[in-house]
C-alpha cells in the first residue's frame, strides 16, 4: 500500500509520460487519459493484486480499459509498475511498437483486454467476472468506461447482464469528465443520470472525486463490502487534469500538443 505522497510521485510521472507520449506520436488522446490517471494509479498500486510475478497470469484481479483511447494512461501506469520499460513509452503509436493506439492484450503485459471500439470492454469485464465465479476464486474485475462511451447501447446490455447475474466481483468506474469529442456530453446526447440507470439494472452505485485518493479508496471499500450486486462508481473528474490549458476543454480529447504546448505542460507537471 503506497502513501498518497508516494502515489503522487507516480501520478505526476504518469501525467508527464502521457503528455510526452502523445506529443512524440503527434496523435492520441490526452484529455481522457489525464482524467483517469489517478484512478488507474490507485487501482494498480493500492487495490488490485497485480505484481511482476503474476502479471502474465489470469489468476489475479483483472482490469479492462473500456475507453481504450485512454491507452496512454494505461501504458503509463504499467510503466510505473515496472511491467513496461519507461523508454518504450516513446514508441507509442509508432510502426512496429507494442504500444498500439488502442491497447492489444497480446502485446503488452498487464493489458488484460484488447479494447478501443467503445462499449465492448464492459461486456468483456462481465465475462471475466463470470469466469471468476465459475472458477470459484475471489479475484475482482475492474473496468473504466467513459461518460461519452455510455451512449453506446451495449454498455446497458452489459449493465443488465451484470445486474442479472449479481456480479459483486465487478466494479466499474464511470470517468465522468463531462466532455466528449463534439462537446458537452449532455449536449451531444445526454447520458445522464448514470446513478439511476445503473440502479435500475440492480447495481450498487456510489460516487467519488476521481482525483482524490481518499475518495477513490472509500468508494472501492464500499464496492468490496457490497454483496449480490455489481458496483458502479461515478467518478467526478476533470478532462485534461493537471495541464492548465487542457482542463475542461473538449478540444483536447484527441489532439496532440505541439512542442511549445508540450514544454508548458511538462513545466506545469514539474517535468524535466
Amino acid at each position: 500500500m503506497l502513501t498518497k505522497e508516494q502515489l503522487m510521485v507516480h501520478t505526476q510521472n504518469m501525467r508527464r509520460n502521457i503528455v510526452k507520449m502523445v506529443h512524440q506520436a503527434a496523435s492520441g488522446h490526452p484529455g481522457g487519459s489525464l482524467s483517469c490517471t489517478d484512478i488507474l494509479a490507485w487501482l494498480y498500486f493500492n487495490e488490485m493484486n497485480i505484481n511482476a510475478d503474476n502479471v502474465n497470469s489470469t489468476d489475479r484481479d483483472r482490469f479492462v480499459l473500456s475507453k481504450g483511447h485512454a491507452s496512454p494512461a494505461l501504458y503509463a501506469v504499467l510503466s510505473e509498475k515496472g511491467f513496461l520499460p519507461e523508454e518504450e513509452l516513446m514508441t507509442f503509436r509508432h510502426i512496429n511498437s507494442r504500444l498500439q493506439g488502442h491497447p492489444n492484450m497480446n502485446y503488452v503485459p498487464g493489458v488484460d483486454m484488447s479494447t478501443g471500439s467503445l462499449g465492448q470492454g464492459l461486456s468483456c469485464a462481465v465475462g471475466m467476472a463470470l469466469a471468476n465465479r465459475l472458477d470459484k476464486n475471489d479475484h475482482r474485475v475492474y473496468c473504466i468506461v467513459g461518460d461519452g462511451e455510455s451512449q453506446e447501447g451495449q454498455i446497458w446490455e452489459a449493465a443488465m447482464s451484470a445486474g442479472h447475474y449479481q456480479l459483486d466481483n465487478l466494479c466499474v468506474f464511470v470517468d465522468y469528465n463531462g466532455l466528449q469529442i463534439d462537446g458537452d456530453v449532455t449536449k451531444v446526447m445526454n447520458p445522464l443520470p448514470f446513478d439511476k440507470k445503473f440502479e435500475a439494472f440492480n447495481w450498487y452505485v456510489t460516487t467519488c472525486d476521481g482525483h482524490d485518493f481518499d475518495s477513490i479508496a472509500k468508494a472501492l471499500e464500499q464496492a468490496r463490502a457490497n454483496k449480490g450486486r455489481p458496483t458502479a462508481i461515478i467518478a467526478n473528474t476533470v478532462k485534461g487534469k493537471g495541464v492548465s490549458y487542457m482542463e475542461n476543454q473538449a478540444g483536447w480529447h484527441g489532439v496532440a500538443p505541439n512542442d511549445e504546448q508540450c514544454a508548458i505542460a511538462l513545466e506545469e507537471l514539474k517535468g524535466e
Partner: protein, 309 residues
C-alpha cells in the same frame, strides 16, 4: 442412412463437451431451444448462461470468458450471431485471438417461413473476411458433431454454421473431420461440384440424375471454408473443365468467392460458376419451395449444368 439437422448434432456434441471438459462454457441469446445450446444445461447448468436478446453483449462477454481461459460456444441464429454482433466478433474476439466459437444456427434460406429477416445469406462472407477467423460449415449430423468436437481443441476464434432442417446423412460413423481438407465424395470427370452445407446433399442428388445422362460430376464437400483446401481446388481446376461452386448463401463473398480468390491466382483450365443465391434476399416459404425458387435444389442444379455444360 438417416436424417438429422446439423444444429441437433451440435447440441449433442456440446452436451458431451460440457460434460467432459470443465473449461467449456456455453452462451445463448434466448434461442437455446432452437440453436440446441440448451443441451449444455443437461450436462452442467452452471456453465450455460442465457444472455438474453443482446447478441453484441453476448459476444463480448464470451470474449471476456475466453480471456480468462475458457473455451466458449456462443450460439444464436446465424443472422444475429454474425450480423448484429459483427463488430464485437471482429474487435473483441478475432483481434485478440480468443477461443470463442460463434455458432450460427438457422443459416441460409431453408430457415423457411420466417422469411428474409432471419435468412442469413451473408454470414460466411462477413466471418471469413475477418483475420484470425476459421469458418466451418458441416453438411450433415455426423460432420456437425465431429466439427463441434474438433472446435473444443482448436486454438483461436471460429465460426460454425449450422442449419435448421433435418438433412440426409452423407457420412457414416467412421467419418473424421480434418481442418483445411476438402472431401471428395464422388470421383467423376469433366465437371466438379464443390459444395458446403446442405448443398452437398443437393449436389449428390444432382450428380445421380446427371449420371443417367452420361454426365459424371466429381463431388467435393468443402466444409472447411477458411482455411480452404487450396491444393485440392488447384487439382480440380486442372482436371475438369468446369467447377460449380454450390452454397446456400449469397454468391458474393462466400464459398464461390473463396474458390475464385484461390483459383484467380493459379494457372488453370477450368471455368468457375456459382450456384447460390444470386445477390438477393430470400422470402417466406417451405424449405423445398425456396430451394427450387432460388435455384438451389438438385433439379435446378441439373438444369444449370445442362445449360452451361
Amino acid at each position: 442412412m438417416g436424417k438429422m439437422a446439423t444444429r441437433d448434432a451440435y447440441g449433442n456434441a456440446l452436451r458431451e463437451l460440457v460434460s467432459e471438459n470443465p473449461n467449456i462454457v456455453a452462451l445463448d441469446a434466448d434461442l437455446s431451444k432452437s440453436t440446441k445450446s440448451f443441451e449444455a444445461t443437461k450436462a452442467d447448468p452452471s456453465r450455460h448462461f442465457n444472455m438474453g436478446i443482446a447478441e453484441g453483449n453476448m459476444m463480448a462477454v464470451a470474449a471476456g470468458l475466453a480471456a480468462s481461459g475458457k473455451t466458449v460456444f456462443a450460439s444464436s441464429f446465424a443472422m444475429f450471431a454474425t450480423g448484429r454482433a459483427f463488430e464485437m466478433i471482429r474487435n473483441s474476439i478475432c483481434y485478440p485471438y480468443l477461443n470463442v466459437r460463434v455458432c450460427g444456427s438457422h443459416a441460409g434460406i431453408t430457415v423457411g417461413e420466417d422469411g428474409a429477416s432471419h435468412q442469413a445469406l451473408e454470414d460466411i462472407a462477413i466471418m471469413r473476411a475477418i483475420p484470425n477467423m476459421t469458418v466451418l460449415c458441416p453438411c450433415d449430423g455426423k460432420e456437425a458433431y465431429e466439427i463441434t468436437k474438433y472446435a473444443a481443441k482448436h486454438v483461436g476464434p471460429m465460426y460454425l454454421r449450422f442449419g435448421r432442417s433435418a438433412v440426409e446423412d452423407v457420412h457414416d460413423d467412421s467419418y473424421t473431420f480434418t481442418i483445411g481438407k476438402g472431401e471428395v465424395l464422388k470421383e467423376g470427370k469433366d465437371i466438379a461440384f464443390v459444395a458446403c452445407g446442405l448443398m452437398v446433399q443437393e449436389s449428390l442428388k444432382a450428380a445421380a440424375e446427371l449420371e443417367k445422362e452420361g454426365i459424371c460430376p466429381t463431388v467435393v464437400n468443402m466444409a472447411s471454408i477458411k482455411p480452404i483446401d487450396k491444393e485440392l481446388l488447384i487439382e480440380l481446376a486442372n482436371t475438369h473443365h468446369t467447377i460449380y461452386v454450390l452454397e446456400e448463401h449469397n454468391i458474393v463473398g462466400g464459398l464461390f468467392g473463396t474458390v475464385c480468390e484461390v483459383l484467380a491466382q493459379e494457372t488453370r483450365t477450368a471455368r468457375i460458376l456459382p450456384i447460390g443465391v444470386l445477390d438477393s434476399f430470400g422470402e417466406s416459404g417451405k424449405p423445398q419451395e425456396l430451394l427450387d425458387k432460388y435455384g438451389l435444389s438438385a433439379k435446378c442444379i441439373v438444369e444449370r449444368v445442362k445449360e452451361t455444360n
